[in-house]
Assembly symmetry: C3
Homo-oligomer: 397 residues x 3
Amino acid sequence: MNSEIKALLEEIKTYNTDLYRHDLLWTWEKSDDELKCILSMARLLMQMRKENISAKVFDSGLGISLFRDNSTRTRFSFASACNLLGLAVQDLDEKKSQIAHGETVRETANMISFLSEVIGIRDDMYLGAGNKYMREVGAALDDGYKQGVLPQRPAIVNLQCDYDHPTQVMADLAWLKEYFGGLENLRGKKIAMTWAYSPSYGKPLSVPQGVIALMTRFGMHVSLAHPEEYTLIPEIMNVAKNNAEKSGGKFEVVKTMDEAFKDADIVYPKSWAPYAVMGKRTELLKQNDHEGLKELEKKCLANNAKFMDWECTEEKMKLTKNGKGLYMHCLPADITDVSCEHGEVAASVFDRYRVETYKEAGYKPYIIAAMMLTTRFPNVPEMLAAQVEKARKRIKF
Amino acid sequence: MNSEIKALLEEIKTYNTDLYRHDLLWTWEKSDDELKCILSMARLLMQMRKENISAKVFDSGLGISLFRDNSTRTRFSFASACNLLGLAVQDLDEKKSQIAHGETVRETANMISFLSEVIGIRDDMYLGAGNKYMREVGAALDDGYKQGVLPQRPAIVNLQCDYDHPTQVMADLAWLKEYFGGLENLRGKKIAMTWAYSPSYGKPLSVPQGVIALMTRFGMHVSLAHPEEYTLIPEIMNVAKNNAEKSGGKFEVVKTMDEAFKDADIVYPKSWAPYAVMGKRTELLKQNDHEGLKELEKKCLANNAKFMDWECTEEKMKLTKNGKGLYMHCLPADITDVSCEHGEVAASVFDRYRVETYKEAGYKPYIIAAMMLTTRFPNVPEMLAAQVEKARKRIKF
Amino acid sequence: MNSEIKALLEEIKTYNTDLYRHDLLWTWEKSDDELKCILSMARLLMQMRKENISAKVFDSGLGISLFRDNSTRTRFSFASACNLLGLAVQDLDEKKSQIAHGETVRETANMISFLSEVIGIRDDMYLGAGNKYMREVGAALDDGYKQGVLPQRPAIVNLQCDYDHPTQVMADLAWLKEYFGGLENLRGKKIAMTWAYSPSYGKPLSVPQGVIALMTRFGMHVSLAHPEEYTLIPEIMNVAKNNAEKSGGKFEVVKTMDEAFKDADIVYPKSWAPYAVMGKRTELLKQNDHEGLKELEKKCLANNAKFMDWECTEEKMKLTKNGKGLYMHCLPADITDVSCEHGEVAASVFDRYRVETYKEAGYKPYIIAAMMLTTRFPNVPEMLAAQVEKARKRIKF
């Protein structure tokens, strides 16, 4: 057994957690111990795979993926996590995006779950609706399980909602933990979560919200910057503020990219839509006002264009700690002169950190797998210890 | 070993069956013993899963799903059944609905079957074409196997055709068997299979046909009611009549919902299209007469609207045995004030029986799995006994 | 152990191969020993399955299918191969066909590969782009693996590009080897690869190109015939010429179907688009010139129509060796009076050889599986020997 695996197996036993049967919907609903446990389990699963040790705890069972918005990266991460644990993926394809509710949600949730172990949901298009939908599905599953309709209560994993993107930001944190050599080393580090210009419109708020809510947990100094109107959901701003206070970290909102980048150890420049616009969009969608939606998009793109200088350039990177701040992105980034004329980041900056952003993304399948396990089973440290003990080979030769 | 599992293992050995290599297309092609065997195997598979005993008899192999009409419930049931037995699902997506035949069917059937163990087909849109298509696929597979093209003859499971919906109605029967405490207890029970109003058009005839053909098998009293023109395929009416005579049950056609509901132990109110309309629709489709199809739909919806009072209300439920008849539905039901303004059933009635309808649906994955096994293998009781004996855990810890 | 399996296990050890970590993109990049090894491994996998011996070498892992053109046969073959070896298929669905490049390709290649073992790609629509794309993906994976982003380097299998269709033509060769009783028996045999009329437009050049490049490898006499302008990529013509010289075979281009069919042991009549047209089509597509594309299609179909007599009729078959030449096709064939009014082959000819064409196709899943294994692992003969030794049953009873 390699020594990191051994240490991780010991470590995950020490946390005081209550993750079993509580869906993974928002990081701020979880305790520090719980998040630490997930981070270490994800790392353990990654190391087990490297050592060719099977993590297949299911002999059979379905993992359902329900994407109400496009996805390639998260879809593959979810499929990889399911497969790693022994589940077959079955897509629930609703054909057209919709705000379903009531009996339809309750019934569908039960009908797809008779032999299902986990449901991954992305629903990030409608402010005030995405996370609500996930909780409605959860309540339907609770009831179905209680009534004896379902032989098990499938775990729900939030694959991005209107509030949070927990699998992304936990992967981000796992990467930072690796990069800086431990969670403790993040204490006092400055991370700049900044808006950046992109020629597209209506990007969800979940990543910046997820980042400020999570990175304030472990003593980091989170500096949020955006053009005035590109605010986030006020509720989450409070979460970040409170987290920073509790953890001994810091949370500030500044007015310019420069200010946020100043002496930052880490920068995370990324485009998003203004909170107010997202709210208006939901209203228009509910009213099926397609003319209004087009109008809104046009206005927003015009407004975006005023902030083209919010770009992560080489010059801006020089402002970071020793000019060597770590660039992060959830990918795909809008790269100037590569994927578009003007984008979030200069080509040379992205190029220098490409491998790092790929490694950041590489944690996602394992974070999802850890979330599935801990939500679905009460005794995951024992399960993984037994799996390592048995050392069944993933590739047989 | 739990005692129900033990009893079921004993029971399934006692039946005189010839299911191997005969596709599961219509229940009326199967003997009473064969149907009883499938019901008990389904229940056994359900209990095995509850006891965490793996039913995976395939180490690898494909299960092909071919849906020529939309489906969520049956799609998931089929995927669940495949997964339970160890098969990976591969969808055959024909992109657009079509009435294929001849060489195309023969070739495709063989091309997708080199490593396939089972093919589930839904083809219910065209009267006179759906089941015919399944049999054409079956003949192509027979020939491919005989000629040495295929190393095995994949089993075909009818996931709904123009005549029957065997996986649905067998799940219905499995549920009735559980609800009333045994197949023998169904003898003499009255079931009302009645048409009900729905604001939609062109629903297949397969469920009412499947119900009257199957429920007359075991001594039940089946009372069919529908507005005059909403007749079923005459051939199936004869099947139901003959079955009732043989089984000592009863089959009657009455003119009103009230009459059917009177003293019924079970009611199954559900919308369907008139036989004559379905026939005309097939003709128009074959001629690609889209104008004619629109015209037909308009006429039908207008006609439907004359029978809005065919609704399963609280008042109608009072007519049933002691006012406590069991409400059944294949789901999704058109629920008044919930999924539509006027529907098949009142919200309060549906609400009271929601859990029951969910449990009814919960049998479907296991019914499909039992059908797959019995069609594909000659020695299923021995296989399942060995599987229970070995008691490999589905979830490993 | 059956004697053929034993002999094949011995045989595959004797070849001098360097297949590991070299993607399977063109047959002409592989040595004779390498191709022979793949043929025999495919046959071995086929025999193992017949004997109910599991070939599952992966406990988990993803196989990615990326189809940039429609496919049923190859899609199922790829899914079957993945499943046979223990991989779950995950489709990468790009929604719309596109000529992606640069950072997008690099990033996507890495993002989908964290837990992936093999990637099958079909990209045959754009002359000069399809194979190039595969190599770009390969370079991205090489880099990702080198940089520590990916824990393994997934193998790429070409499921049809603009140049070659290696899984098809290797299956063709495996079939010829079986039909004629060994690769050595193909020496001196004449195969007519001829154009044939079809009422469709723009069929890829990859099959005829793959056939002339591969069949010239083992001493066969390849006779290529097509209407004057229906030429192939000049580069491949040279490959075929050189191969024939090296192998002691023969490669000739003749002007008529009759001449090619004369005394042929095998005929492979199939439609394709002229090289020049395919080139022009790529240009027009790049320019998004939809008007021009329609114009081109119209012109081409009109031109095609001049060569309706290029049909594999009974009369033409009489020209073959003793009138008994073997008819081959990659399927689906355009059959006169069956799938179209005038097609590539007369119904009676196709009918006589239907079973043979099905058997030809039946090799494809095993060829793909052999390609996956040899590209992904350095020690496949040992792996398969161990798997046969262990004799884990694929169907457990």
